[in-house]
Amino acid sequence: MDELEHTSYESVEEENRPISNARLAVLVLLGAEIMFFAGLIGTFLVFRFGSVTWPPPSQADVRLPIGVTGLNTIVLLLSGYTMFQGLRAIRQDRQKELKNWLFATGLLGVIFLVVQGSEWVRLVHHGFTLSSGVYGSVFYVLIGCHALHVLVAVLWLLAVFARAIAGRFSVDHYVGVEVCAIYWAFVVVLWPLLYILVYLI
């Protein structure tokens, strides 16, 4: 009778949870991330649609690298696919494949960052910098904040990759992969939006 009234903590916790703590926490974190970018994107929209000409007349000669960045967008989208495949692999307990997919994902993420960085170097050489009026300010800060998030995601992935090599994941225990994949998905999905807003329109 006493057991009926006072269910032990450990059993309660498992049966009453539709979603584990770690997954929930990452989703909650994404809520904050979305609001962070909402602030920055809102700033961009205020300037973009608040000005008669865009880019502003003083920056009219600036040409953003639409083509290269477009290819880069595909690279990042591809990394989203490989991450998903990695998650599927561990769900079916294919540990070796998990390692391969994680490696591919990280590689694509690094390629994305390197291409972004080299394009930035080129733009800066053309004289387009943070202090090039509001056009330069909003471009570098908004795109830079995304790049920073990709960097964090790559570092997180590195940690997950190291644990995958050590064989720490299995079909019953892959929360570590999953939360990283959720975050990775956020970084990937956000990018096309930024690309369309900042580069195309």
Partner: protein, 615 residues
């Protein structure tokens, strides 16, 4: 991280001092850390207020103690080693910190700007949020929902230490060349974004950095709160059996989670403007200083509800206990809080009626703002309904809670005036606004904090606070509070601008100067009275009357836990059978029915079978 909590409560070994008191993972200790942190900052923030109150009452007169001590130092009578060391830090100009900011004991106008900026910043970000959300959130959530600890204890500890780091960075700003941030707690651009305009250099940078660090701290806290409340409630603790304090903290955690990142991004833009040459808020580069106001108030209006909602929740805990009646309209209380939280996102424009806003847009913001009166009134009438024909026990927590309810009503009513954009044109940026915000945040939140400290102290420290001292503290605080802030309404309608260092410079304000003197006298009484609270807290931790398990005869789960609460909180996790406010149930043998009592009845009257886990 999750596993750690379970393992550590199994073996009851003595923890080291560092593990137990500094880098503790126990939600109760982290809550107490926030409590001490908040109380200390409360005294600091109040001290700043007293400094500028002196200047407002007796402009350009030397301060009492500092003014005198300077005389002594000139006469060379008290030049101790400490004084010499202090002076060596300012070798460049051979001036002490006091001489820079308060030459001859008189507050420098630039320092005055720092004072009111930092008073508000400290009170909002380092006192009310750490106390309400940090201290009570941490202490109460696991206890009231019936679990052993937060979902992520390490994150919880980091949340406190980021909070501490933010506090240290903020306090460091007082001692950098150029003085501390002086653009007001709202940090309006371009005053905040161009160093030349305010003359403040690193002070403003540190202000931004500190608030971003605080943002990280509350992000970690809110992730923890949301996860814990969703996932770790005791069996039977359905959503509508949650105590209202937990509902309030849950809603506040969501607001904090979603609001703070917006201001974090805006603060980052300010930092870029100041340090990297961007021109987000600079018109000459195509930027827009109004953008800051939008981003800031989009955050700061939810923020003011972050400041009041936990107070509402805590008041809803204490009222039924001391009225010995169920709370009136439990579900409407929950939905009112949800409505307030939702509306808080679409009212930020009412801070900007005077910023050149399209009147049509102003009318829209006016309407949404007025709508907030509806859920606020629901809550107020429910509190009154709870008190109606109750056998009220006038304990110290109850007195403070009643002060909360009545002062919140005054603050809420004055809010209706400034929500009207035509009226706001007249009272904008006057002391009327100052009176309003203090009636809500001091009269509301801080009295709820006073009440909460008294109410949960027996569970926190296993001892009672001294009730006589508590009553003295309450009455002095309550009377002095009204003496300070009520006349500000009159000053404001009389046209007294806020944030001016010397009202005597304006002829039309001179006839009201006696009100400023009266306010300052009351402010000093109010300030001194807080030492009673501080003394009562620290004395009672060691010397207070030992408390039993459930001294207030309350129903919620934290009183089911043994006193003092052990690591892991509960012997066995309780099973919940009731809503949280089952007082004076007809036919029951005592006038409170704990949530854990099996053979009672549900609020609807039908018996609940033992072992039922959901409604």
């Amino acid at each position: 991280m999750n596993d750690h909590a379970h393992e550590s409560h199994d073996h009851h070994h003595e923890e080291s001092f560092v593990r137990k008191y500094l880098f503790s993972l126990d939600h109760k200790m982290i809550g107490k850390q926030f409590l001490i942190f908040g109380l200390v900052m409360f005294m600091v923030g109040g001290g700043l207020a007293l400094l500028f109150r002196w200047q407002l009452a007796w402009p350009d007169k030397p301060l009492p103690i500092i003014g005198v001590s300077k005389e002594y130092m000139e006469e060379g009578e008290v030049t101790t080693a400490a004084d010499r060391k202090w002076e060596e830090r300012f070798d460049d100009d051979k001036e002490t910190w006091i001489e820079v900011n308060m030459p001859s004991g008189v507050i420098d106008p630039a320092f005055y700007n720092s004072l009111f900026t930092m008073h508000a910043t400290i009170m909002v970000f380092f006192v009310v949020v750490p106390l309400l959300v940090g201290a009570f959130g941490n202490f109460l959530i696991p206890l009231m929902i019936g679990t052993r600890d937060m979902a992520f204890p390490v994150l919880n500890m980091l949340s406190f230490w980021f909070n501490m780091l933010g506090g240290i960075i903020m306090m460091a700003g007082f001692f950098v060349p150029g003085g501390h941030a002086a653009a007001g707690w709202t940090g309006y651009a371009p005053l905040s974004s161009v160093p030349e305009l305010s003359g403040v250099d690193w002070g403003q940078n540190l202000w931004c950095i500190s608030l971003i660090v605080m943002g990280i701290s509350s992000l970690m806290g809110s992730i923890n709160y949301i996860t814990t409340i969703i996932n770790m409630r005791a069996p039977g603790m359905t959503w509508f059996r949650l105590p209202l304090a937990i509902w309030a903290l849950f809603i506040v955690a969501i607001l904090l989670l979603l609001a703070f990142p917006v201001v974090a991004s805006a603060l980052a833009l300010i930092l870029f403007d100041r340090m990297a040459g961007t021109s987000f808020f600079l018109a000459e580069g195509g930027g827009d200083s109004l953008l800051w106001q939008h981003l800031f108030w989009f955050f700061a209006h939810p923020e003011v509800y972050i400041l009041i909602l936990p107070g509402m929740g805590m008041a809803s805990e204490m009222l039924p206990v001391f009225a010995r009646k169920p709370i009136f309209g439990y579900k409407s209380m929950v939905f009112a809080m949800i409505a307030i939280a939702f509306l808080s996102w679409i009212v930020w424009g009412h801070h900007m009626f005077q910023s050149g806003m399209n009147p049509a847009l102003g009318a829209a913001f006016m309407t949404t703002t007025m709508l907030i009166a509806v859920p606020s009134a629901i809550k107020t009438f429910n509190w009154l309904g709870t008190l109606h024909r109750a056998s009220i026990r006038f304990t110290v927590p109850m007195l403070n809670t009643l002060a909360f309810v009545s002062m919140f009503v005054i603050g809420g009513l004055s809010g209706i005036y400034m929500a009207n954009s035509p009226v706001d044109i007249y009272i904008h940026d006057t002391y009327y606004i100052v009176a309003h915000i203090h009636y809500v945040v001091f009269g509301g939140s801080v009295f709820a904090i006073f009440g909460g400290i008294f109410y949960w102290f027996p569970k926190m420290f296993g001892r009672h606070m001294n009730a006589t001292l508590g009553k003295i503290h309450f009455w002095i605080s309550f009377l002095a509070f009204n003496g300070v802030f009520f006349p500000m309404h009159i000053l404001g309608v009389g046209g007294h601008m806020r944030r001016i260092a010397n009202p005597m410079q304006y002829e039309f304000l001179q006839h009201m100067q006696w009100i400023n003197v009266f306010i300052t006298v009351c402010a000093f009484i109010l300030g001194v009275a807080q030492f009673l609270l501080l003394f009562n807290v620290f004395w009672s931790i060691f010397r207070g009357k030992v408390a039993e398990q459930n001294p207030w005869q309350a129903t919620t789960l934290e009183w089911y836990a043994p006193t003092p609460v052990p690591h892991g909180n509960f012997g066995a996790i309780p099973q919940v059978y009731h809503g949280p406010y089952e007082y004076s149930v007809p036919g029951a043998d005592k006038d409170w029915t704990p949530q854990t009592e099996p053979n009672g009845e549900s609020p609807h009257g039908e018996p609940i079978p033992a072992g039922a886990t959901a409604d």
